[in-house]
């Protein structure tokens, strides 16, 4: 009798384990098939892609209708239209560099190597351009070099020992101020293999300082657009679509 019970228990234990592992295995295999993209055939991926594209299209349509609604609302509400226009004006001025700006950011000082005046030990226009490009890539909203605001038409070039920015001669040391997220800007510059890493071995002194309060002056040059004209687009009316 005791032996029979033991027998039942033993077989039952193995049966329990068998059932458990079979169902767990079934579930796992099915789960892994669905959830690992390696196992998905290209065709399945294609259908997924198509589905996502359709979703994207419908979302774009939604966005367009929302935009149309927004423009209608802007026209309807007489009170807020002014603030919208003011906001746009502010943005345009910031973008064009026509107003002085303040905010957090970084200050980068570039100084020629102390000893030695070989070609690669002095700062070139290209070094400054690299720094500015890196700052813009890291999300800088406004940049100035020794007080000269960088705008869309600014050029930076070497003339003899000086660098000309916005037709103003600047000499070393160059102090580049940039408004933006100071951490991101700093990280963009001092990243391994980045601009600081490239310049320091030549003896060029690069100092990056994070600040909470930076002030960047407005562009003080004249704007002379002789050749370009604004292309007229139909923007009035409700046909924003």
């Amino acid at each position: 009798m005791n032996k029979k019970i033991m027998r039942q228990v033993g077989v039952s234990l193995i049966c329990l384990l068998l059932g458990f592992s079979v169902s767990l295995q079934l579930k796992s295999v099915r789960f892994n098939k669905v959830h690992s993209s390696d196992n998905l055939r290209a065709a399945e991926l294609q259908t997924q892609l198509n589905a996502e594209r359709e979703k994207n299209e419908s979302l774009t349509r939604d966005l367009e209708t929302a935009k149309a609604q927004l423009s209608e609302l802007r026209q309807d509400s007489d009170g807020s239209i002014l603030s919208v226009i003011n906001k746009q004006l502010d943005d345009a001025q910031k973008l064009a560099g026509l107003v002085a700006l303040k905010g957090p950011g970084v200050s980068v000082m570039l100084q020629d190597a102390k000893k030695g005046t070989t070609d690669s030990q002095i700062i070139h226009d290209s070094d400054i351009r690299t720094v500015i490009n890196e700052l813009l890539a890291s999300g800088a909203e406004a940049i100035s070099i020794n007080g000269e605001r960088i705008v869309s038409t600014s050029s930076i070039r070497c003339v003899g020992p000086t660098v000309i920015v916005n037709n103003t001669r600047l000499g070393a040391p160059f102090i580049i101020n940039a408004i933006g997220d100071s951490k991101t800007l700093e990280a963009g510059l001092i990243v391994k293999g980045g601009v600081v890493d490239t310049l320091t071995p030549w003896g060029i002194n690069v100092t990056v300082t994070k600040t909470d309060k930076l002030e960047i002056p407005a562009y003080n040059g004249a704007s002379n657009f002789k050749y370009s004209e604004i292309v007229e687009t139909k923007q009035n009316g409700g046909d924003a679509r």
């Binding site: 039952s12 059932g19 796992s28």
Partner: protein, 114 residues
């Protein structure tokens, strides 16, 4: 004989209910355990029918086979050789043999009562 069947069902329900998925790299090991468990259960049915059942043999046989199969697959993974084939063939052949023996015994017992 109905208790093992109930245990099988209970195990299946538990397996589906448990909130855990075996990672793809390890499903082969679980498959080995399934194979050796299936082999042991069929072997148990056969030995039960032929009256040669021994609990110790069942338990040690199952554990030993499962461990052996898993270790073989593991070594095969390291060596880059598909050692999993060996247990699959051994268990497969034995299961077929055992099922054939069970079939003979059942036919003898219930259909050839002359």
């Amino acid at each position: 004989m109905s208790i093992p069947v109930l245990a099988l069902l209970l195990g299946a329900i538990l397996g589906f209910a448990v909130n855990f998925h075996v990672p793809p790299a390890y499903t082969i090991y679980l498959a080995m355990i399934i194979l050796s468990a299936l082999d042991s259960v069929i072997g148990a049915i056969l030995s039960n029918l032929s009256g040669k059942f021994k609990l110790s043999i069942l338990i040690t046989g199952f554990t030993g086979n499962a461990v052996m199969a898993v270790v073989l697959v593991f070594i095969g993974n390291i060596l880059g050789l598909d050692f999993g084939i060996a247990p699959i063939i051994v268990f497969g052949v034995r299961m077929f043999n055992n099922v054939a023996a069970i079939r003979r015994i059942i036919i003898k017992k219930y259909f050839e009562k002359e």
